[in-house]
Amino acid sequence: MLEVTDLVVRYGNATALDGVSLQVGEGEMVALVGPNGAGKSTLVNTLSGILRPVSGSIEVDGRLAQVPEGRQLFPDLSVADNLRLGAWRSRRRAGARDPRRIYEILPDLERMAKQPAGTLSGGQQQMVAVGRALMADPDILAVDELSLGLAPLVVADLVRHLRELNASRGTAVLLIEQNARLAFDLCERAYVLESGTITMSGSSAELSRSDAVARAYLGGLTDSEAS
């Protein structure tokens, strides 16, 4: 589905990603965790084609859509228009621009359809951002910092929607998260990105039992100790 091999991305002389390789299988949910400045957003922006790699390859089997960090909506456009613009690439296909197909997945959005996106709460904006990405009919969804700045209940609701989406449509998810506990909870597999390289990878269960991961990302307690 998604195969990233030896990806190198530089900003001028600074190397942001240094030989990153990762895979996301069909319908799989995979997490990428790591601290601030590790290169997580650089990776996802490279996957989306905003940044160009110096070397390495990205193979996507199907369409990839990004839910960017910080929502990045069009604040003065309505929710419905934000959604419609998510279908820009497939705009000529019949029905592609109709936001109603998103209301079936995220029913709350229908109520806010006419509101300017900038007036919504953070959680509602995140839902619009997810909906806008879904308008592209992605086979894989790259979600950058789903939980950042949102209340736990709001995050739980968004996570439920992602699970449903994955279960009902088989949409693969690459979840880029600072909140490792949330990421391990939602995804079967995970990668740890630090200073531009993948330092660890494996099943979420394995990783959350590892002392190194626990110290860095789970507040010092492995998952078994925490529970």
Partner: protein, 286 residues
């Protein structure tokens, strides 16, 4: 009273053409963040072209259409040179438009000479409150209002118009959605050319146009455009009308040679006001 009315109406009409030039500035700036210094070239080329076309016996309507379309094409060319290369800094694009505006003088003088030209469009006048007002003024006002209404519909009702607004609102998110910011920028430049061309076609019968009329038109259009911080076409319309009427009164009651100064003073006042409204907090945030 009759003088007042005729100043008012002629001021509104001239103000409409400023507003059209201004809306070109706004369309281009919103999408590309570039202040297009060649904006005054579009009305000049359109006015000069229509004058030649009519001189060759082309009928009204066709001549005007050719003038407007040519201005649109020139807008596109200016856009290609100014922003066509990905990653061109905004300031570089701005300087390129300034250079192209000056380069245009040479072409205009070679093709049309350096003398002002004019032509008549609508003949006749109507009597309003004792003042004779030429029909042309009403044509200008009507055409401008229709254009602004159409622009409003284009930006808020059409998918392409919304994509342009999206580029203006959040260029990064627009790119993520697959909207090509350079293509949208070129579209904005072409639109700016068409709007400037329409202004030129309408104003030439009222004020003869020569190669160097672009300075006055661009200055007035810019003064109107900064009313909305270069981002609101409707504020630009209000600004244009205000400036047009103000200039007409200054010319009518004081001295016609102060017209340009009115626009300059207005630009300075609006900019100082806008700068003073920007709080320290918003400066730190942005």
């Amino acid at each position: 009273m009759s003088a007042f009315l005729s100043y008012l109406i002629s001021g509104l009409a001239i103000g409409c053409t400023f507003a059209l030039v201004a809306s070109g500035f706004v369309a281009i700036h919103r999408v590309t963040r570039v202040v297009n210094f060649a904006q005054g070239t579009f009305p000049v080329v359109a006015g000069l072209t229509v004058s030649s076309m009519l001189g060759r016996g082309l009928p009204h309507g066709v001549a005007e259409l050719i003038g407007i379309v040519l201005a649109g094409v020139i807008g596109l060319v200016v856009g290609v040179i100014a922003i066509g290369k990905r990653g061109t800094p905004t300031l570089a694009s701005l300087v390129i438009t300034l250079g192209l505006g000056i380069l245009a003088y040479a072409f205009e003088i070679i093709v049309w000479g350096d003398q002002p030209v004019s032509y008549s469009m609508l003949r006749g006048a109507v009597d309003i409150g004792g003042a004779r007002v030429a029909w042309q003024y009403f044509l200008v006002i009507g055409a401008t209002l229709v254009t602004f209404a159409a622009l409003g519909l284009f930006f808020t009702r059409t998918y392409l118009g919304k994509a342009l607004s999206a580029c203006a609102s959040n260029p990064y998110a627009a790119r993520l959605a697959g909207i090509n910011p350079i293509r949208m920028g070129l579209l904005a430049f072409a639109l700016g050319g068409l709007l400037g061309g329409l202004a030129g076609v309408l104003i030439t019968p009222l004020q003869p146009v020569a190669f160097d009329s672009d300075v006055l038109l661009a200055t007035s259009g810019f003064a109107a455009a900064i009313f909305g911080g270069l981002n609101s076409p409707y504020a630009a319309l209000v600004g244009g009308l205000l400036l047009g009427v103000l200039e007409a009164f200054v010319a009518g009651y004081i001295n016609a040679s102060y017209q340009t100064e009115v626009a300059m003073v207005l630009i300075i006042v609006v900019m100082i006001y806008q700068a003073s409204r920007r709080s320290t907090v918003s400066e730190e945030v942005s």
